[in-house]
């Protein structure tokens, strides 16, 4: 992956204050986007380690990757064939069986008085990656012969044929041998007379400057990685300018470029968000191509071994829209151009970059991914930062979405801290990225986690159900890109899952309610303890009410409060319940006559009829007669009053 290149366009017309202001704005812009980006980076890393869900299971992603729906059926009989096929599969989807390298010419600066031809050796270096670092990775180098290459061929003086080298695809096989391998195509250039073997390392020599010519006996070399670590072929058909360096090149600084002025470089790391102003040098200076010796190669994957010499190919037309893929764009995959520009020149710049990154329209190639421009919009001024991508990978997750619709859907759903607005244009899509002001970053997990300090777990317990199973089968809209087009008027969709995602507290103590007790309505009772105490106190405060009356009134009040009787019609039932529950207490506390007075009082108020009183008394006496102790207590009480 290539780092984002940013070209700062400082217009001279700007005044310095404008510049300062712009710098300030830019700082603000970076700060605003920095935090969400960091968060999403972190989340990506976390989801790699412990994924919460698999993207490929998502509906919109599945639609994107519908091409690999066929499950593999393995048959025993086919195992061998499969293994062989795999063996001969030219490993990692190399486009052809033979890699044909046509050596077009060796270019050095003219003033070095170069020889007419140089020897070029093509060899393949296999690097086996070891798990543990044990010095240098073991490398096996296989040579594929020497060829003589013309130095500085001009269009006129070029020989009609060019020598070729051929590397069979089997040599890229990773199957034999242990451990994963990467393959590096090593091109060595040495003067005619020099016949060095490349086995001997040349570490002790001083590193010479890049401008050293081939006339000096130094062998020059360049390395071209054939595959990346994932086994994907990086070398695609195309014309390569290979920058040659002195033999013990510490860093394979081969840079290939099919189009002049278009730098390509190996990125040491994946795309990183780097400040534009830190003056980080471009890894490969462009002027190196004009000064250092370069070897022009044409690579082609063919299915037949080529002739030792082939007809000199026609030079490629750099600006041709039908031009084959630029090697850099293809190889680096995520090659990006990031530029900052004033909005006035945005359009022209875009078209410029579009032309540059025009994907190949070669026949038989997979459907061309559209060009995707990310415009980062911040602030009232139309400050933009455009990131052009030619693939459909999410810039934050590096998730390959395959198609535009899944990409947009993914961006919208997984990166909600931003808002994305999609605008189609002629050859691709422009996605305006802005900060989502209304992003609700509230914690949606178990609310209890927010309040309680971590404690030791002691056995199973009920937790707040913080997952919800949603059974909803809405009529699915046909996926259409139009749904991403306007974000301004879009109203926030109500969340599907509503529920208790917060911490509830007791009203009395403000303590958190544990999930096990959430369903119990603790404060719902009609006779709260304080009310019971209150009614008792209020009754006992009366000075002109005697003890028996007070006791009975309190008893009755508590009874009524407990059951919340609402109508006259419920009074007989209330009485029946009262007798049932408190009959024994009435007898034991010697309140029978007060109870009868209470009945009479109810009658006086027209709540119950004499019949009800009669029945209540009967019920009471039946209750008493059923219990010998109660009977004797009652009798003693009644007679105790008499004697």
């Amino acid at each position: 992956m290539a780092p984002k290149k940013r070209e700062r366009e400082d217009e001279n017309s700007r005044t310095s204050t404008d510049l300062v202001k712009q710098d300030h704005d830019h700082e603000m812009f970076l700060q605003a986007f920095e935090k969400p980006t960091q968060i999403y980076r972190y989340l990506r890393a976390r989801s790699l380690v412990s994924p919460l869900f698999l993207h490929r299971n998502l509906l919109y992603m599945r639609r994107a990757s519908a091409r690999r729906v066929k499950p593999k059926v393995t048959r025993v009989n086919a195992l061998l064939a499969m293994a062989e096929k795999k063996q001969s599969d030219l490993t990692n989807c190399t486009p052809g069986q033979y890699l044909t390298i046509s050596h077009i010419g060796y270019y050095v600066s003219k003033d070095d008085s170069p020889p007419s031809s140089v020897r070029v050796e093509v060899s393949l270096k296999k690097l086996c990656h070891k798990r543990r670092k044990e010095g240098a990775a073991p490398a096996v180098t296989t040579s594929f012969g020497w060829t003589e290459v013309v130095v500085n061929p001009s269009d006129a003086s070029a020989p009609p044929t060019v020598p070729t080298s051929c590397v069979p695809a089997e040599s890229f096989s990773t199957q034999n041998g242990s451990g994963p391998k990467t393959f590096v195509l090593v091109v060595r250039v040495s003067p005619q007379q020099g016949n060095r073997e490349n086995e001997e390392p040349n570490n002790k020599r001083r590193k010479v400057s890049r401008s050293s010519s081939a006339a000096s006996s130094e062998p020059l070399r360049a390395e071209l990685p054939v595959t990346d670590r994932a086994g994907r072929c990086l070398l695609t058909d195309g014309e390569y300018d290979v920058l040659l360096t002195a033999e013990p090149a510490s860093q394979p600084s081969a840079a290939a470029s099919a189009t002049p002025g278009r730098p390509g470089a190996n990125s040491p790391r994946k795309t990183s968000w780097e400040s534009f102003d830190d003056g980080k040098p471009v890894p490969v200076p462009l002027d190196a191509f004009s000064t250092a010796p370069t070897l022009k190669l044409r690579l082609a994957w063919t299915n037949q071994p080529p002739q030792p010499t082939v007809e000199r190919p026609r030079p490629l037309q750099p600006r041709d829209t039908n031009q084959p893929a630029s090697a850099v764009a293809k190889r680096c995959g995520r090659g990006t151009v990031k530029k900052e520009e004033s909005s006035s020149s945005a359009n022209s710049r875009e078209s410029w970059s579009v032309d540059k990154d025009r994907p190949p329209a070669g026949a038989g190639s997979p459907p061309t991914p559209p060009l995707i421009l990310y415009q980062f919009i911040y602030g009232p001024a139309a400050r933009q930062q455009t990131e052009a991508r030619q693939d459909l990978l999410c810039p934050w997750c590096c998730l390959d979405c395959g198609k535009l619709y899944p990409l947009l859907k993914h961006l919208q759903l997984c990166h909600a801290r931003f808002t994305f607005c999609y605008t189609p244009f002629a050859r691709g899509a422009r996605i305006d990225v802005s900060l989502n002001e209304s992003y609700d970053s509230s914690y949606a997990g178990n609310p209890l986690d927010l309040t309680r300090p971590p404690g030791a777990r002691c056995g199973p317990g009920r937790r707040t159900p913080s997952t919800s199973v949603l059974v909803c089968r809405p009529r699915r809209q046909k996926p259409s890109l139009a749904e991403f087009q306007q974000t301004e008027t879009e109203e926030r969709m109500r969340p599907f899952v509503t529920g208790h995602n917060r911490m509830y507290h007791r009203t009395a103590t403000n303590l958190a309610i544990p999930p096990a007790e959430l369903g119990y309505d603790s404060e719902g009772e009609h006779d709260h303890p304080w009310l019971r105490t209150k009614t008792r106190r209020m009754i006992y405060e009366f000075s002109d009410v005697n003890e028996g009356e007070k006791a009975l009134m309190v008893m009755w009040n508590l009874h009524v409060m407990k059951y919340n009787f609402v109508g006259d019609l419920q009074m007989p039932q209330a009485l029946a319940m009262f007798i049932e529950q408190h009959g024994a207490t009435i007898v034991n506390r010697n309140l029978y006559r007060n109870f009868v007075l209470h009945l009479a009082s109810l009658y006086d108020f027209g709540v119950i009829s004499p019949g009800h009183i009669h029945r209540a008394i009967q019920q009471f006496q039946e209750l008493v007669e059923g219990d010998g102790d109660l009977t004797s207590t009652l009798v003693n009480n009644l007679l105790g009053a008499a004697s």
Binding site: D521, D604, Q621
Partner: protein, 721 residues
């Protein structure tokens, strides 16, 4: 010496009185402070016990509080805290992965409040309970506020008693404290030798001089005598009828406590809500609609008065036609629209039928037999031991006469029961247990001869007419329409009307207040009160405007609306949806910090549109009191006042239920409706639209019952600033 002293107490006395008075006041203050302290400690203990209980419960139910621990991530993702530790010569590097803790937001402030589920009426506060503290800046900025506030209470602030304050307790203490001084004064001391010294007149003169508004020395002395000798006072209350000192008192006195304290509307004694005198007109004087207990012609036992000569024939002769009539009536009318409930009717039936009655009587007769026989034996032994005997039992050896000895409790109880059962002496005797039927009968005859014959005018209830009901119904339906048309901006509190003998016309208080007469009114349904609400006859859920109750913004009255099932005691049997406030069928609410401001209230379960959420409960205060309180609440920018009607306001500040935490919104999901619920105005909060579980509840404070929003304006501004 005495006259000169009477004229003017010496300066010594003045000094002593003043000194003792101040000492007593200080003592009292300390005592009060101690009481407050201990009460506070008690409350604190209660609270900490509650917290402990909570902790214990959480431990016992093994709730798991899981803190999420971030998984160890590879590479640079995990931050690590590293420290170099110099340990002697060695240099150790300690590193610990940093863990992310979620931010915990502080809880909003909450002032203590007491939970209630019914409204609670409190009196107006005549003194300012405390001077509210709202931070120094408020006081600095608006110094006149406190002054105005105090002025509202006529300058009375709690705890600042006037200097001349003196109450009974202090008075007694003061007199006692001054007694030693009279010895110093000389003269009178020798008279009090031996006995505990009595205060002389000099003491009272001095006090009277100090506190001239307390009366003359003589009055003070009398008061002192009264206070130190409580026995001298007549007993304040009727003695306990179950106690040993029960007396024979008239029925009015026996029933006095019950009658004055019983709340006809809450069925409670000294209820919390209906504290005004006007709410309790007392037992209604009109003739009861409920039928009397039919008199049985079968003797209830061996001692039944029916065994007496001629009694039975008399009863039978008197009852025969009426019984036939009753049976006739029962056969004819199925009573579809009876005032009585089903179970009442069934109880009548059981009373009418003879067989269960007799078996029950036999049972209670056994109890009665036990009591009377024991009574007799005890009396006999008692009279045997104490040969002097009481006058009544000693004179007459006849056992029947001996049994006739009625205690005060028996007499009082009889008088209480007699108007209920009238001449059904069997029932009276059964209720009294301690007396047999014959004894009761004889006593009744005696009472009747002593007292002017009570008139049991039995105005025979006219046979019910269905027509009347229907006519009433149509009248009321028209009335409801009428009420709806007139602007209902003025909602007055309901007070039972009490105008005996007059129909409910323009003079009736209910009509004047545009309220219906309720069952609590003194006007009787039988008197054809035109102002009664007839109730509904819905078979459905009473939640549409088809239901007259719903239309009249009333909840179904369990005594009026029979067909919708509002009368069932079991809540789950009720089909009517228009009883939620009275039954307290509120939704389960949960309190959490609000998304808007402060605390909020959230729905545990979902709610349909127009479904009842909760009642807005609180203290019922007068509008004047609300004005005074509102001043303070406005300053606090937090008000729980809710207009109930033109007379009263509900204030949920001190007492309330959870719905008090509902916040205001201009696009709310709930609405408030003041309903007439069995004679009380109550505030119901209903769902304005379907509400999801876990949603916060809002209602628009502005749409109060009378749409006048006096006190919540500030809160609204605060929210949307």
């Amino acid at each position: 010496m005495a006259p000169s002293k009477e004229k003017k107490p010496s300066t010594d006395w003045k000094k002593w009185v003043k000194f003792e008075y101040m000492r007593l006041r200080a003592l009292r203050r300390y005592k009060r402070a101690d009481e407050i302290k201990s009460a506070w400690n008690e409350n604190r203990q209660l609270l900490s016990d509650q917290l402990l209980d909570e902790d214990r419960r959480q431990l016992s139910c093994r709730t798991v509080w899981v803190a999420p621990v971030e998984k160890q991530l590879q590479g640079k993702i995990n931050k690590v805290a590293v420290a170099d530790v110099m340990c002697g010569e060695r240099r150790d590097k300690h590193s610990v992965p940093l863990r992310m803790l979620y931010q915990a937001n502080p809880l909003p402030t909450m002032y203590k409040w007491s939970p209630i589920q019914n409204n609670f009426m409190v009196e107006d506060e005549t003194v300012l309970h405390n001077i509210p503290y709202m931070g120094d800046e408020v006081l600095d900025k608006d110094g006149s506020f406190i002054e105005e506030l105090i002025k509202n209470y006529d300058g009375k602030v709690h705890g600042d008693q006037e200097p001349g304050f003196i109450d009974d307790e202090i008075f007694v203490d003061l007199v006692k404290a001054l007694i030693p001084h009279q010895n110093k004064d000389g003269g009178d001391s020798e008279t009090d030798s031996g006995d505990p010294p009595q205060p002389t007149m000099a003491v009272f003169e001095a006090i009277s001089d100090m506190f001239p508004d307390r009366g003359s020395p003589r009055e003070l002395k009398e008061k002192y005598q009264e206070l130190i000798d409580p026995q001298a006072l007549p007993p304040e209350c009727t003695p306990n009828i179950d106690g040993p000192s029960a007396q024979s008192v008239p029925r009015e006195q026996t029933m006095h406590s019950f009658r004055t304290l019983f709340c006809r509307r809450c069925y409670k004694y000294d209820c919390f809500l209906h504290r005004l005198k006007s709410y309790h007109p007392g037992p209604s004087t009109h003739k009861r609609k409920t039928p009397d207990l039919p008199i049985s012609t079968e003797p209830c036992g061996e001692n039944c008065y029916l065994h007496l000569d001629g009694e039975r024939d008399k009863i039978v002769a008197r009852l025969q036609p009426t019984e036939e009539e009753a049976a006739d009536r029962q056969r004819k009318t199925p009573k579809p629209w009876s005032v009585d409930s089903g179970n009442e009717a069934s109880s009548e039936d059981s009373n009418d039928s003879v067989h269960p009655e007799t078996t029950k009587s036999a049972l209670t007769g056994a109890l009665q037999g036990v009591v009377t026989s024991m009574d007799r034996s005890r009396r006999r032994t008692g009279s045997g031991d104490a040969s002097t005997g009481t006058a009544a039992s000693g004179v007459s050896p006849d056992p029947t006469v001996e049994d006739e000895a009625w205690t005060g409790a028996d007499q009082s109880l009889f008088r209480a029961l007699h108007p209920i059962f009238l001449n059904n002496y069997c029932a009276v005797a059964q209720a009294m247990i301690s007396k047999t039927c014959q004894q009761v009968y004889r006593f009744a005859q005696e009472e009747a001869s002593n007292l002017p014959a009570e008139e049991h005018v039995k105005d025979a209830t006219p046979p019910r007419k269905k027509k009347k009901k229907l006519r009433l119904w149509s009248v009321h339906c028209r009335k409801i329409q009428l009420k709806k048309d007139s602007s209902s901006n003025h909602v007055y509190n309901y007070t039972p009307c009490n105008h005996p003998g007059q129909p409910c016309d323009e003079t009736c208080s209910c009509v004047g207040a545009q309220n219906f007469c309720e069952k609590f009114c003194q006007c009787s349904l039988d008197c054809e009160c035109q102002n009664r609400f007839p109730g509904c006859r819905c078979k459905a859920q009473c939640n549409t405007k088809q239901c007259p109750c719903f239309l009249a913004v009333r909840e179904c009255d369990p005594d009026l609306c029979r067909s919708c099932g509002a009368h069932h005691l079991q809540v789950d049997k009720i089909q009517c949806k228009n009883v939620s406030v009275q039954r307290g069928l509120h939704k389960h609410l949960l309190m959490a910090p609000s998304d808007v401001a402060g605390w909020g209230i959230f729905l545990e379960d979902s709610a349909q549109k127009n479904e009842f959420i909760s009642e807005y409960c609180g203290e019922v205060i007068t509008q004047d009191e609300a004005d005074r309180r509102g001043k303070v609440y406005d300053k606090y920018m937090c008000s729980f006042l809710f207009n109930l009607n033109n007379d009263f306001v509900v204030d949920a500040t001190r007492k309330g239920n959870k719905i008090r935490f509902a916040n205001h919104s201009i696009n709310p999901n709930c609405y408030a409706k003041v309903m007439m619920v069995n004679g009380d105005h109550r505030i119901g909060i209903f769902a304005k639209r379907p509400i999801q579980p876990g949603d916060e509840l809002f209602f628009d404070y502005r749409y109060g019952p009378t749409e006048q929003l006096k006190f919540v304006g500030i809160e609204r501004e605060m929210e949307f600033l």
